[in-house]
Symmetry: D3
Subunit: 136 residues, 6 copies
């Protein structure tokens, strides 16, 4: 198995807020991340696909193809957007980095037909990073 | 002259929009940066102060002091905020990186009493950076 | 399982020296790292916790809480210190990056009550990095 | 087990081209990576060795020794070279990052006598990264 | 004056060689950079434009526009190319970072019609960087 | 003028302490930087030389030569050392980043015989940076 990673970035805003709770409870849970108007990040997304390099190409998956999948399925839908309001696939989900990584995994897994999705890693800031490797 | 730089970061959202123009004009001017709900960035702020190191300390300005000034005057007011709505000193100003840098210069200049403010540098993304060195 | 990582930094000095050996042997083993007065690094510490995001928060562990644990248990005790002399929990341990990572694991493991400690990664320089994932 | 990583860099050129195919097919498969004159990268190589730190040194493997192995076995042979033409151990192999990582694994594995080679990670660009952890 | 910088990257190969000299002299002058088959880099290009932000947009120059100029005039012509053989505007020029920066300045200067080109900065590796600010 | 920068790193320890003051005064001035045993950093040093590229080489100064000067004059003397005790040229100087940069300037200026020293930039941490461009 060789693991192939494509790194990309997108800029989005979000607000951490659970509608089941009061504003006060949300503030207690999420602190400044619950600010009503939201705030934003330059997210760094690392998508890793594992597989055997093919004899004819030496590729697990052509990174230009992986780049295109990530662009169509993810970046075009989240870049310069508000994750709580503008993104269909985030509806009803608290947009923590953990939850975003899981959603992106579910979206990408079936689209990757050479090799298999191994990891979705998401940097929310330079100090806060999450990774999801699927339900095992 | 020695130049001393303090780097810090904040996460905020913004929308590029000029109220003097129609929505269509704003979209033509600002493209996806005009999305109504806004988007966000992990801004990297580099504040540079120039001066002579003092004999007794070897400091132009104590970086702990500079850090504190930047925290009180800037970070506490913009971090996890929406720059168009939540920040007093950005009111009525289109929050491009250029304009933010100029505003931050004006705020910081008078607060720095050891050495003199030399530059405010703001990274909006890893590829887009602005710098302001004051009106000369 | 989602893996959540908090990155932080500290500046410390150390000397690689085994008191069971002569100075000459230490120099042979550790070369310039055995210099009597020590030298130092900007260590980068990455602590990773694994777990299921909670329904109500979307968090494996609140990163503000993880940050606080790392600050109290580690950073406050090692930052701007000499690891051979000033740090209780390093007493009698050769402060290689390997050994520091293992010690930090042992300190942090019991303090993390949401999710489970998965990895302690320590960058001694930009080119030298160690990781410990516990005794399995 | 502690995992010890040494990061190094080399600058080389390569061309992705499979001699079993026509030029047209190569262009279809490899696009601009098939340009006849080749192009190049600043490769970043991360070699990870796993093992138990020794009692007397606190080292899994002395990183100066690992650095020397990587220099002699890899860097001296690929740095400032054309991977398709100048490098003995790449002869007949399409120099994708995947294939380079596998070849470097095979070269390094037997040379590392303290601990065991765990991973060879190769960054071709800041956005394209591969990792090989051996045939299991 | 505000300074606006756009960072981009390209991968190319080159060879340092002065045809006025013998092979031996070239090797003496350029060492391993004179290897006949060439080698390559991931160049990082930072283009800085200075000017006053416009009242209506808050932009010195729309960075999407600057990005487009850099793409058309530079990246499309050098990315995945051999600088000695494939690039019209490098013909007859020894492709040191210094010379590339000067050539790119001359190409870009007239294309930038909002603000004025202030600096072309080129990173050949993470340790070797050149900057050109025009003939004054 | 083209500006050529060589980046290098060294690991050293230091203590900020002015012998003219009491321990209490030193602590008030330098806080945790005055800890008696010292602490350390991975310093990043950027040396910039300005000049015209030579016709025959396209070089302002051969970066291999600049690298060698920096190694002999600086790195060999400060790497893995305690700046207050082990380094001749720092004797009697409070080793703030400001003062180190000025000392390194004075050492390097006369050694650079192609082009002229333009700037010495020193990163003490990823957030604290100083630059000296000489007395003008």
């Amino acid at each position: 198995m060789v693991y192939v990673t494509r790194r990309s970035t997108f800029s989005a805003s979000h607000r951490l807020y659970n509608p089941a709770f009061s504003d006060q409870q949300n503030e207690a849970l999420f602190d400044k991340c619950a600010n009503p108007r939201g705030h934003g990040h330059n997210y760094v997304l690392e998508v890793t696909v594992g597989g055997e390099p093919r004899e004819e190409t030496g590729y697990v998956i052509d990174l230009k193809k992986l780049k295109e999948i990530i662009k169509c399925e993810v970046l075009d839908k989240v870049d310069h957007k508000h994750l709580n309001h503008d993104v269909e696939f985030m509806r009803g989900i608290i947009p923590t980095a953990e939850n975003i990584a899981k959603v992106l995994w579910n979206i990408l897994e079936s689209k990757i037909t050479e090799g298999r999705l191994y990891s979705v890693r998401l940097h929310e800031t330079e100090n806060n990073i999450v990774e999801y490797r699927g339900a095992s």
